[in-house]
Subunit: 337 residues, 2 copies
């Protein structure tokens, strides 16, 4: 007995779902052909249940929200050993989140402060982190000292009882309650909220601000990206400012540092950063363009419900739920017109 | 104003916690010195609240369970470009989990079937997968065809109502209920259970059996390891057989494949597997020795509670909960005697 053990249906991320539509069609055509041999009355297969990625891909253009180039950071790492370019694109969080640190980050990028710095730390199943390894490079003037109260959006309903986060799918499935607050989505971002506060959460790819011991909340000059299982214990303990929307593999596949916390032992192990720019500073033709699926749209509600209850081919048993970090907000590049 | 922006307290994994005890001690000594200058009555600082890693490290020897070499798989990848060895050690799951596939995996390892195969697929935030890229290598005889009913341990309480999984810390904090079942720990493994069945869950580092479309559940010849946020929608949809307990960075930092599902485009991109052996087949002196913290111990209960409620230095706001995959079971090498 021989198995074709390659799990070509082992899919779970929207990008993969999209890519495998063609293969699925082949399978379904084959299934239909077999069905017609065995039982002609079943020759007309019912339409397959779409995957989360297929639901997102089928969303109308009006459900997608363009990201302004002024809200994108372009980080160009030095080319790899084969000379290949390594571009990481980060979407910055909108108001009202983390505005103090974001103001600093805009100033640091405008000053080209990160050019010549490096990725200094890669800890497996945790974070990749970049900034000035010497810790001696002078910061631009005018950076704000941001208080730790800004880790959350306080009293975000203006003194009223906050409405619950918009349920997606069935609330018991997609509103997560494991952590100290109810998880959901707000204007394209994974968040949690209690009756008073709203805060962003540490999902894979989220970008935050390194800090030392409290009450120093960090300037924004040292940043990290999550490259492992969502470290949710960091929520409300450190500032989140954005997420990697393209090129995270250039951070997540870097060699892990052998020192404590994944710090590199030698200068040679660090990955140099050629430049970091706000995308709107680049010539118009070079500005990357991205859009995300509105988390307030009906398409997103269907997508999230499907993430929590996979019934598309390959899946036998729907999970009946999902943690918020297992419902990544679909983001895609916009084709040049 | 200048920040020391390096978050040398940005810790979250037990290994890092252990490593930074020394640094923490320095900080506390400094804090005590300052306190004694400012307010002599506070010169005696209260003992710091231990981190989860410190709790595990302080557990008595009797709380640690040795892993038998017969339950360890040693996978030696070809040395890297610099000639450095890359050894991945996988702990196999105990009875009653996934025994059909585990029997096959033992036969495949005993036949040295994987020698000369390769890592063929690395998909970011998902899985690294290995086996025979040609899909033509004959399998050993005698492998079992395992039914999908074995994705769970059915009726694991013998017809009685199952007792709940042992709560650790406060039940509402550490018993996770996001997914379709209550998450907890059983004999050293992250699991979920409902009133009838028990099943292992897809946390970071868990190893599973690639499969094609149902009802083909895979032979065990094609295996994957989770290298991203826990893909819990795969629970009960595919077989889990173990976890990587050493060397996962040799899989998680491999370049991502550029084809659909992270498959590599060319043979040259694949990482050759020199050999895969059950550790008990190796000469005694070469057998790796590991132990894990008993999930039935009081030490583990304290550890898990601390993972859900970080109050050690650096943390300002305990999360008040944790998903099961954010409570990795501590595993460590046993020093040679």
């Amino acid at each position: 007995m021989h198995w074709n053990a390659r799990p070509n249906r082992l899919v779970g991320l929207s990008q993969a779902d999209w890519a495998w539509q063609t293969s699925r069609m082949k399978h379904l055509l084959l299934a239909a052909a077999i069905a017609s041999l065995v039982s002609p009355v079943h020759a007309q297969e019912p339409a397959p249940i779409p995957s989360p990625g297929e639901i997102a891909a089928a969303a109308p253009a009006s459900d997608w929200v363009a990201v302004a180039p002024s809200d994108l950071i372009v980080m160009d790492l030095a080319p790899d050993a084969k000379g290949q370019a390594r571009r990481v694109v980060i979407q910055l969080m909108p108001a009202p989140f983390s505005q103090g640190w974001l103001g600093n980050i805009r100033k640091l990028a405008a000053a080209h402060w990160w050019d010549g710095t490096s990725v200094n730390r890669v800890q497996d199943n945790y974070v990749a982190q970049w900034g000035d390894a010497t810790e001696k490079k002078p910061l631009p003037t005018g950076l704000a000292a941001v208080p730790e109260s800004e880790y959350v959006v306080r009293n975000w309903c203006g003194g009223h009882i906050c409405p619950p986060l918009r349920p997606v799918g069935t609330p018991e499935n997609v509103l997560e309650k494991v952590y100290g607050g109810t998880g959901g989505f707000h204007r394209g971002w994974p968040v949690a909220a209690d009756g008073r506060d709203l805060w962003p959460v540490h999902c894979y790819g989220m970008v935050g601000v390194g800090r030392n011991m409290s009450p120093d909340t960090g300037s924004g000059a040292e940043l990290y990206a999550v490259i492992g299982h969502a470290p949710r214990h960091l929520d409300r303990n450190i500032a989140l400012v954005g997420r990697v929307i393209s090129g995270i593999e250039y951070l997540s596949s870097l060699p892990r540092g052998s020192e404590a916390l994944g710090l590199y032992k030698t200068e040679a192990e660090r990955t140099p950063i050629a430049s970091i720019r706000i995308a709107s500073e680049l010539p118009a033709a070079e500005q990357p363009r991205f859009e995300y699926l509105s988390t307030e749209s009906a398409s997103f509600a269907r997508y999230a419900d499907a993430r929590a209850n996979r019934r598309d081919p390959f899946f036998i048993k729907p999970a009946g739920g999902a943690d918020i970090c297992n419902i990544p907000v679909p983001v895609r590049p916009v084709a040049a017109k």
